[in-house]
Amino acid sequence: MSRQVSRLNRWIVCLAVLALLLGFGPRVGSALAAEKVIKIGTIFPLTGPVATAGQRCQAAVQTAVEIINGKHPDIKVPLAKQEGILKGYKIVLVHADSQGKPDVGKAEAERLLNQEGVWALIGSYNSAVSKPASFVAERMKRIFMCGSSSSAALTQRDMKYFFRLAPTDATESVDFVEVLKWANKKNKANIKTLGVIYENSEFGKHAAEEAKKAAAAGGFKVVTDVPFTPGATNLNSEVQTLKKANPDAVFGAVLGADYSLWVRTMKQANFLPRIVINYCSGYQDPVIAKQLGGDANYFMGSSGYSPQFASLMPEVAAVEKIFKAKTGGVPFDGNSIQEAVAMLVLAQAIEKAGSLDTEKVVNALNANTWDSPLSLGGKVKFAKGGQNILAKSIVTQLQDGQYKRIFPEKMADAKIVFPMKPWDKR
């Protein structure tokens, strides 16, 4: 009897604690409402298969906000020297987790806008999440800044409140084909055939379609097309399929752990195309490149940033220091830095518009060319539909563990190693 009672009491206590947590929890944020703050919401995949990238993107936005809110006379980035924007307004971030799922991302976008009362959104890494989440913002006439989602379809929707910083997979594909043509001319490479390997998701599929389009336009023949299931236990048949078709060049859209598995499986199968170029994916992750060691060398990929671009972008170093403190020493990569740019450009636009009127800020965003020391090329300008038309990327090649700039030639700091050195000669 008494045991029954105590068990029941325990349950009641548990439920009460839970109710307390749930009931009072979400209201903590609103305590700040009285001060001069601008709330900005972030939506990134903080859990799930691409959580690594999502957490880095979140840290990048936090870094940007730290720079905007504080006084940083030593950092040569717009808004760093002054404290806050609009004469004393501070930016407060409200973070949300999309888990990489479109429905969750959409629900979180609604919650942030309605419940938390954020003024604008930044996100969402996965193209598949950015789509519905930005749709919500558009309907509510709120700005959605998209740093790194690469699907070209995002900016083909004629949205008014949507702005994307990163280059799309369409422009990347065209760049890649240019690299092949350049190699053909310069190195007498005689590249004719192309293979595409990609994870079968919105990101990979879209990249592959753009790759095929660009290849056809450039006169290359796509001889094999290998989609695979992300999170696979092995990539043996994928690599064997590539090996059998034996294309001269391979374009890859392989994320995270799958990238390391892919490279290692190719080594085991003793297969190497003459040139491999990667979309924004595992290749650009400095941690993976380091962990793969020598095996990662001579692969290529496009990148909006890597620590070796320091001579082109001298202002990044000071910012990166703040970022590294948040990520345990991991530097910016091509994706995360775009999220920081998204935050900085938005703040600049607010400052320029001189008010928190969304329409005015949107007009300012559209009308001006923005200084952006964190972007390659140093400028940001949006076209109709929200694409940053000054988005640039450099095709790099990993040589001795360093991302060397290869193409376009006028930005290069190293010669391409072509063809890739065979596995047994490394």
């Binding site: 749930l22 987790d97 919650r111 419940q115």
Partner: protein, 343 residues
């Protein structure tokens, strides 16, 4: 577990009284302060309660534990999605087609699966989810891995889409909820419902009483699948996007089962109880901790599942029953004491 016991707890028609009260109150909820997040949670509760109730027909009442319901859910979602995105018409014909196709698919795949017992059946349904998931990912006609994105069309019931307010979605979810719960309530009293429970309690016995157990199971599965497809169609209209991992995944399948079992499977109110507890828990804990990025909300969620399942395998309805029993015993004890106290 047993509906009779459940009824004893809440009074004979207790579930119906609660149900009627909810019916009465719910339509007024949208007017009690426009709060989109609360509305979102209410919609999800109704939707997931309806989904789980659909599962409950075959999984709870009939005792066939299917982990394949996300397939039917997905077919319904794709039915509506294809109608709107590929053909540019209102979703209604797609919803209907989705329901019919889901029922047909359910019959076709269940027919051989019903020969399997216990875990073999459960794992076969896992396998079917994975096959459908991968299949839809490479099927270009339905958008493949890119999924289907809704265009912006005029809001209203005709297009089953609302933009600024969630009230329309709320009422739709309520209708969905009423359809499934009404149907199951009707089934409980109908001969078919007794057949279902007879099959659950023992196929051989049921057969010996003249129940064609295969036909009963197939019919229940078809009904359950059609309802799940209806819910799927609503889900896609609500989210305005569909791709295979969103709808046809083991995660989604687990939700059907989890909510029903945690609420109390094989009971009418079980799915509602499960959804009322789990959905707010999931949404609020994500709102509270999700942004921290440590997956704390999911850690807590996982722990809670373990605790509920381990402490009270009959589900939340079991907890309510315990409390009821406890109160009754105390009343009895009190009465006894009073009797002793009397001279």
């Amino acid at each position: 577990m047993n509906p009779k016991e459940a009824n004893r707890v809440l009074g004979k028609d207790g579930p119906w009284l609660v149900f009627a009260a909810l019916l009465f109150v719910m339509p007024f909820v949208p007017f009690v302060g426009e709060n989109s997040f609360r509305m979102h949670i209410m919609i999800l509760i109704l939707l997931f309660a309806a989904m789980s109730q659909a599962w409950n027909i075959i999984g709870g009442y009939c005792g066939q534990v299917s982990f394949g319901h996300s397939v039917f859910f997905g077919i319904g979602a794709y039915g509506a999605g294809m109608a709107v995105v590929a053909y540019g018409v209102p979703p209604w014909p797609g919803i209907l087609t989705g329901m019919i196709v889901a029922a047909a698919v359910a019959v076709i795949i269940s027919w051989p699966c019903f020969k399997l017992s216990g875990h073999y059946f459960a794992i076969a349904t896992f396998a079917i989810v994975e096959i459908f998931n991968r299949g839809f990912l490479v099927w270009d006609w339905v958008g493949g891995a890119l999924g289907l994105d809704y265009p912006l069309v005029e809001e209203g019931l005709w297009n089953l889409m609302w933009h600024d307010s969630k009230t329309g979605y709320y009422y739709c979810a309520l209708v969905l909820f009423l359809i499934t719960f009404g149907l199951v309530r009707w089934l409980e009293g109908h001969r078919f419902g007794y057949y279902l429970r007879a099959v659950r309690e023992g196929q051989e016995t049921a057969e010996s009483l003249g129940v064609n157990s295969t036909a009963v199971k197939l019919a229940a599965m078809a009904l359950s699948a059609a309802l799940a497809a209806l819910c799927g169609a609503f889900f896609v209209q609500y989210n305005l996007r569909v791709d295979p991992p969103m709808v046809m995944s083991l995660d989604m399948s687990m939700k059907f089962v989890l909510i029903t079992v945690l609420g109390g499977s094989g009971t009418l109110v079980g799915p509602l109880l499960g959804a009322t507890v789990l959905i707010p828990l999931q949404e609020y804990s994500r709102a509270l901790w999700g942004g921290l990025g440590g997956g704390v909300d999911l850690i807590v969620f996982g722990l809670l599942i373990i605790i509920i399942v381990v402490k009270q395998p009959a589900g939340i309805i079991g907890i309510i029953r315990d409390i009821g029993k406890h109160a009754a015993r105390r009343r009895a004890a009190g009465k006894e004491e009073a009797d002793h106290g009397a001279p």
